[in-house]
Amino acid sequence: MQLEEARIVQHTEVQGGYRLLVMDAPGIAPQVKPGQFVHLKVPHLGEALLRRPFSIFKAGEGRLSILYKSIGQGTNTMKYLQPGESLDLIGPLGNGFPIPAEDTLPALVAGGYGMAALYLAARTAPVRGLAFFGGRKSDDILCVDEFEALGWEVRIATDDGTRGKKGLVTAVLDEWIGQKGPAVVPEFFACGPNPMLKAVADRAAAGGWKAWVSVDRNMCCGVGACLTCVQKIRTPDGGWTWHRVCREGPVFESREVVWDE
């Protein structure tokens, strides 16, 4: 983890309000594990003080990229960033995804920008499996080619049916679970809205499989100091304790998570 002034080398719209931001970050980039994130100080944010967290989409050769969607003040201001400008980053942060266990078939489940958090996991997984992508409309389905190029089979669902199956990502997921033979033991790696994570956790629990979920929580410090981003995690004694999503997370084994919020 370090503070770094990264230099923007590329900033392009991917589709439907999603943008790709590529930075020179020779300090942070080599340390990155799949599923980690950076905490980014948006320049010229006027009366907004906090950094914004973004999953590291790609990292390599001294470069980092993130894939983000403009949804509010910070991400709208980010649209105007230009190549050559510097960006103040803290990273890499969080625990990241583990390596899929042997004898399991990794199954990625992504909602919206969730695929950004999963790309590095897809690239480093020892076995290629399936990737389930969900979104509201076809614009929310990103980088399918890139996952396919890595050897993953991508299955898609959109709420409005403009790409893939009409419905939630769990629809394509359930379809596959129903079809796959009993010998196939999936291990899930999921990132997306919390209700989606819970749905994946339910499938995993029902089948007796493992699911790793990357939880999205509003953050403040991003490093574990402020206790903003806490998540209830089960303790062995049947109780619960807070874990910091930014430090002990964002990835948790789904059976540990108390889904009450």
Binding site: K41, E47, L50, I90, N218, A225, T228
Partner: protein, 310 residues
């Protein structure tokens, strides 16, 4: 030390017996218990580290969401989640003792007896330089309503704590006091060695679409640059009432902000919310104060403190 050359700049301060290399500290609750920021900054360059509020047995704090960003500020309602005295001493003190920086523990309790007990325990702990007595947390009933704003309870809790510790005692005052001078004076009379002010200011934000409070705890405390002019005013008021040194806190983002507090009467300052924006703020503030003093041909930080020309 009499080898200080006259044209060198001396930033060191003595806050009620705690000697600091620079008047720039980090504020309770915004710096965790230390390890969180250890990879990012050099602790030895801080004036002091004030750790997150500790009570006797620890507590889980408030439900989420616990913070919300507002115009030029942040509202927090962490609810003083902490591992308790034992947990803190065991898990964090060995780490904190590695550095050459005073550690001040922010303490609180639900009863006068709990405050006393916590103070007594820390009195024995190696490496603790002082106790910041939090009687002003907006996020627990007992913090503010009971001890922070009621003059009798305020005196009772401070006198009790004083009898149980020889450590530097630094009450942290509530900000919504219409007569802060009288509370400052009372603290001094009860044996406080210094004062911290201000804590975050009671505040609230509502999501108009859902009509729900934006914080799990409904209300919280406002911090950040939004509150700075209020904090400067309170420090200036308190400075008129007491002789003990003050630690100015509230929305400090840069050296100018810090100097404003010091010119108003604070002998030291603490950086809070700004740590979240830039963990290096404290060092930048120290550097900025140094260059200000150079520019104004000042050699000792005392030449800044309380020099406002009113």
């Amino acid at each position: 030390m009499n080898n200080t050359m006259t044209n060198e700049i001396d930033l060191s301060v003595n806050i009620g017996g705690i000697r600091m290399k620079t008047p720039v500290m980090v504020a309770s609750g915004t710096f965790g218990y230390g390890p969180e920021y250890a990879d990012l900054i050099d602790f030895n360059q801080l004036g002091a580290i004030v750790v997150k509020g500790i009570c006797l047995e620890g507590t889980k704090g408030n439900p989420t969401p616990r913070t919300v960003e507002v115009t030029s500020g942040l509202i927090n309602a962490i609810g003083l989640q902490n591992p308790g005295v034992e947990g803190f001493v065991r898990n964090y003190m060995p780490f904190l003792r590695q550095f050459d920086v005073p550690v001040i523990v922010n303490i609180w309790g639900k009863t006068v007896e709990e405050y006393e007990e916590v103070a007594a325990r820390f009195d024995q702990v190696e490496g603790v330089a002082g106790l910041e007595v939090n009687v002003s947390c907006p996020n627990i009933k007992e913090g503010r309503g009971l001890f922070g704003t009621n003059p009798d309870m305020f005196r009772r809790v401070l006198s009790a704590v004083r009898t149980r510790t020889r450590l530097t005692l630094i009450p942290k005052l509530a900000p919504d006091l219409s007569h802060i001078g009288s509370f400052a004076k009372a603290a001094e009379e009860c044996g406080a060695d210094a004062l911290s002010l201000i804590n975050s200011i009671p505040a609230m934000a509502i999501d108009v679409e859902t009509r729900r409070p934006k914080l799990g705890n409904v209300t919280g405390g406002l911090s950040g640059p939004a509150i700075r002019p209020i904090a400067v005013k309170l420090v200036w008021e308190a400075a008129k009432a007491v002789k003990i040194p003050m630690i100015g806190i509230g929305g400090i983002m840069n050296a100018n902000d810090a100097l404003e507090f010091m010119i108003a009467g604070a002998s030291a300052v603490a950086i809070g919310t700004a740590n979240f924006t830039d963990p290096g703020t404290a060092m930048k503030v120290t550097a900025g104060i140094r260059s200000y003093m150079e520019r104004h041909s000042l050699t000792h930080i005392k030449q800044v403190v309380g020099t406002v020309k009113t």
